[in-house]
Symmetry: C2
Subunit: 715 residues, 2 copies
């Protein structure tokens, strides 16, 4: 439909997107001008490429997610869940801000965030591909990877010479392009306004990922700087940051079909992965993970049923496993529903067929074939790699014994050369884990988990076997059982004092330890290091080879007059679309806007459906006035759009056709879990807090007239 | 809205209904002519009062529910679940008609139903109030009840003197009016067409009560009579019944807003009960039942967890308890959502206030007050009555000991005077129960259930205590425990031979039995008989007094120009309304029509979502042709309307404005479980099979061209 409009207009160069899919780099927006206009945007598309001007210079990275300036004096609007740590940090038993919410009526009342909380303002987004890749040219494998890494680090160091700047290199299109991201690092952030958790997280885990939703998932912070206007750590004398631009919260609301646009920092997507990777993800990895986690869950639940102490000890691991399994199941379900394997295969086949006819350098096709071969090679041991990964991620005692052995080795290197996670800065964290093991570990449960994992490893064909693992665990279930009984029966590594002492030991003495668990770890370590090295070599090669695939893909898209965007990588992106409900299944339609009636319907009085009394009373009074929806005649709460988002877009501002703030992104729907791989326009929706709900709460439920005035929203 | 239309037309006498509520007696239809026309009906409303003409003489009672003639040669269309027993009766391991479905391509292939299966054609519906009440005048209590009962029995006997007739007395408006129902009893019913269970019950218990729905819940039967045209038992030479009229299945479908009308035999509703009864049902009885059943469920589940044998033994009782609790919960939830107590109270208060001003006989108000007092009196012991009821319904061994003791006493009376359930015809059933006890009973579980019930009884105030129960069970939990341990430890009633022998014993010897369980039953029996007698006395009085309340209510409705219908009582009723979806909660809309896409979405390959391969293949082919919806462009399956229905309306024909059959009623939505007490127009919906789905299945999936031709539906 959009394609037709553009073709009719003869604007093939403007390259239409596929449906409403797209996490565009700001620099791509001018080329999308025709589509933006056709979709209803009334501003200047060209201005959306300008990081130094509104609206983009008002969009910031907050606590790993997104937020936006909403006043000239540095007010930052983000999600309650993005600012959760800040609210928690300021809560005391006698003044629980999570429970009660918080309103600072004067600047002096604003509460400092935890010292590591940051607001980052992107000020530069420059292509530096030539400099990053210069030294890598001609190299392969690990050497290629290391050259890119070294050049990147040099660029970052140079950039960060300017005080108050945080820099990073972003890899676009899988190694095709590199961008230097410059961000002003604001370090004095304060809490200004938070609704009670029973509003900000209404429905919590039960409603998470679900629609219809009724959360007021927002919080207002303020960024402060030194009196010199430069970023500074918290200091009582600091002054509010004079934001170069801020977004104006709209006085109008939204309705189905309205144009909306969103800017933010989406984390990771895999949409341009190869068809073979789609097939592996959907056909093997997701089902295998669902199955593997299910086995571990069943063991922990069985042991927990027999021993209440074990149930408590493993509660956190169990919750994590279940959460992951749910995510994997959702992703699998979505990708199957969207026919992910066949759709991607068809697309890739068409692309490769075109490539064979097109005049691209022959090296392109050779690189693509080499990358495919490399992925196939990795796949040959995928079952083993999954199980060996679980040996160290799903055990507690064995995992820490391996960490201690590895740390002793890494300590022999200069700190910068140590593996990430084993540097000096990480040692306190490792010590903490050694200490808290007691609360996470039961020898009975761990033996059963490990036995299950290794028995499945033992059943794999010989080609997937690793000599060190065979030697350490034996080759039959009986041998394994004997070994585990002996190791867990005799080890003293279960004693905290023994573990902490091992942290101080030298590598040779640890490697020669007579403790059965440390011995086991020492036997496995050479193999895990070797497998890690193989993986890094392969990753380096893929970094070198994938750009050929992406170049072919980009050229193929261009040949059809279509635009393409790089997969998400936590850099600033824009998406545009419209307010839209959807049909999750035959016979059911989800309305795009929810109302306060749903809060009352869901209220049970018990968390997470324990709407605060002042909110229920205000709903019962029904005085919604100018924040009420003109058609629904009641107060709206959240709304849905078809904007293209992923994790990291939490707190992203949602703008209307005039660039005014109408919503705050905070979640996706369950049916869209698979969108990190595939955008299915039938099901991909994003969930936003309606700014009318924010205004109503700030006006009538937990009033903050000063803030409304500062945001130019006085009733 | 309907009220406005009528008032504008100056037709106050035509008495509009409240919204689309109403299970009207056929005789009431002419008075609703204006509303029917306004709603879109194009036929003659007067003809809807005529039992001897179409469409009503095509609507029949089938297997306790409803069906309709759909051909001149006696084809009867009803639900798959209404004909379930017929299909089951004809299934063999080697030819499982439930699983495979069934198509009779010739009359000779049609299979006889189980011999007790009946199709009843209502031929008379006559008011006989004067004759029923003549002898009751001046009497009270039990005597009033007995007089009504005797007069009714005499009328029925007189009516049934005509061969082939089945007659009954229907009590309308709670004893205000009595009707003699005459029904032709067709006894040779044969199975003609049934889709596989995986279509007819697609979704089964999981989808039961749910929307969106995707069941093809229909079956075609044929009624046969003797060669003389008179009802007869199955005989190979019998001939198809020449139905005096039949319904024509429509060739058009339905869409949201279309007028629809339904005729059938709704079972029981309580909408005209008094406000105090609403308050007791919602405020006490439903929560008390949910709680009481929950306690029993918890005990059975706990014991089942400890002993797998007990889990098997109590599986059926547990399923029944859970099913009942779910119904009670749904009813409670719905009545609370519809504010049932306050709404009914407000209505009754207004009615009584009007009554005090109106010129009704003073006796009316006195009778109403007396009925209220009687209900209050019953309420005073409601906790005890609930618990004492559970003693005999939720135990197995004790219950049967009480049945045996009671039967011995009843045997001392002439058969006609025996209590229902203890007549000669019931003895085989009782013997069966005595035999199958072994598969339903565990002494450990029963002791715990009984202890829980009786301990709660022991905690009741003295006024609710019954001397015999106190004497038999003791007054403290400790005494109770001793007694139960002794009784269950020493009784030999757990042996089948002992139980069967007890069935042959005389009353005096049984009463003097030295078996502890029979002794316990003998001690409790006088109290249960006394309480039963009290209840019957009260029921008789209410039968005498309630007509005053109903008379006031009818007069009050009439004073406002509104019609009123009697509560449902399994007699032929009509309702009219429209095709309509609804919003079950904020943000969610249910479409009124489902499509085959939902069958594929729900399909898991495992029952109850195991759509048959021929169906899935036909959906995949997408050849829907003339049965496809013109707007949705696909095959519809089920649809929703706001028609007023309740249990018993299963299989009711749904007619369009021209009187053609567009749907077959088969269920209600979960949100409407409470409609037996209160019709809430926001949530009350009925679920129907779309006749276009039936036609498509019969044309293209499991073809039956002969039947389509007979029903004048050849493509």
């Amino acid at each position: 439909m959009r394609l037709c409009l553009v073709l009719l207009g003869g604007l093939i160069a403007a390259t239409p997107a596929l449906a409403d899919e797209g996490m565009w780099m700001p620099s791509q927006m001018p080329a999308l001008a025709a589509q933006l206009k056709a979709a209803g945007y009334t501003g200047q598309p060209g201005s959306l490429a300008n990081l130094a001007g509104p609206p983009l210079n008002a969009v910031v990275k907050v606590g790993g997610s997104t937020g936006a300036f909403v006043s000239a004096d540095g007010l930052v609007l983000t999600n309650h869940h993005v600012a959760y740590g800040v609210i928690q940090y300021n809560s005391r038993p006698e003044r629980n801000l999570l429970r009660e919410g918080f309103v600072a009526h004067a600047r002096a009342d604003e509460l400092p965030a935890n010292p590591d909380y940051r607001v980052l303002v992107t000020t530069g987004f420059d292509r530096v591909s030539e400099r990053v890749l210069a030294a890598a040219k001609g190299k392969t494998g690990r050497a290629y990877f290391d050259a890119v890494d070294a050049a990147s680090k040099a660029l970052v160091a140079e950039c960060e010479r300017e005080p108050g700047m945080r820099c990073s290199i972003a890899n676009m299109y899988y190694g095709s392009d590199f961008y230097l991201i410059r961000q002003l690092e604001l370090r004095d952030i304060r809490l200004v306004y938070a609704p009670p958790e029973a509003i900000g997280r209404y429905g919590d885990d039960i409603d998470n990922f679900m629609w219809p939703r009724h959360s007021g998932d927002f919080t207002v912070l303020r960024a402060y700087v030194g009196k010199d206007g430069k970023p500074a750590a918290y200091w009582a004398d600091n002054v509010p940051y004079r934001a170069p631009a801020h977004l104006q919260i709209a006085r109008d609301g939204v309705k189905a079909g309205d144009f909306v646009m969103l800017a933010g920092y989406p984390g990771t997507t895999y949409r341009h992965r190869m068809a073979s990777e789609f097939a592996e993800q959907i056909g093997w990895r997701l089902p295998a993970q669902v199955d593997a986690l299910g086995r571990l869950i069943a063991i922990i639940e069985d042991e927990g049923g027999k021993d209440p102490a074990a149930a408590v000890t493993y509660a956190s691991q169990l919750a994590g496993l279940k959460n992951s399994r749910k995510r994997f199941q959702g992703e699998l379900e979505g990708l199957v529903r969207s026919d992910g394997i066949a759709a991607r295969k068809q697309q890739e086949d068409a692309m490769l067929a075109w490539l064979d006819r097109a005049a691209l350098p022959a090296a392109t096709r050779a690189d693509i074939d080499a990358a495919q071969a490399l992925l196939a090679q990795a796949s040959a041991t995928r079952e083993r790699d999954l199980l060996i990964g679980q040996v160290s991620t799903q055990t507690q005692l064995l995992r820490l014994a391996m960490v201690v052995q590895r740390l002793a080795i890494e300590r022999g290197k200069p700190d910068q050369a140590r593996e990430s996670g084993y540097q000096q800065r990480d040692e306190a964290l490792i010590e903490g884990q050694l200490k808290q093991l007691q609360r996470r570990y039961s020898p009975v449960v761990e033996q059963r988990l490990l036995a299950d994992i290794v028995q499945r490893y033992q059943q794999l064909p010989a080609a997937q076997h690793v000599p060190e693992f065979d030697a350490a665990f034996g080759r039959t279930p009986e041998e394994l059982q004997q070994i585990l009984t002996r190791v867990y029966g005799s080890t003293r590594f279960g004693d905290e004092a023994v573990r902490l002492a091992s942290l101080k030991a030298e590598a040779p003495s640890l490697a020669a330890s007579d403790d059965a668990m440390l011995q086991l770890a020492a036997k496995l370590l050479p193999a895990t290091l070797r497998l890690e090295d193989e993986r890094k070599r392969r990753d380096g090669e893929l970094l070198r080879l994938r750009p050929a695939y992406m170049a072919a893909q980009i050229a193929w898209y261009r040949s059809q007059g279509r635009s393409i965007y790089p997969d998400a990588n936590s850099t600033l992106r824009l998406s545009y679309g419209k307010v839209a409900g959807f049909s999750p299944r035959d016979g059911v339609d989800y309305a795009p806007v929810t109302t306060v009636a749903g809060i009352v319907q869901k209220h049970t009085g018990k968390a997470p459906f324990d709407a605060p009394a002042p909110l229920l009373a205000a709903i019962a009074r029904g005085e919604f006035g100018h924040t009420a929806d003109p058609v629904l005649k009641t107060q709206t709460v959240d709304f849905l759009s078809n904007l293209d988002t992923t994790g990291g877009n939490s707190g992203s501002p949602v703008l209307n056709a005039r660039g005014q703030l109408v919503g705050l992104n905070f979640d996706s729907n369950w049916e869209a879990v698979s969108a990190s791989w595939k955008f299915d326009p039938r099901y991909k929706r994003a969930v936003h807090v309606d700014m009318r709900y924010l205004r109503w709460l700030m006006e009538k439920v937990y009033p903050a007239p000063e803030l409304l005035q500062e945001m130019n929203l006085s009733p």
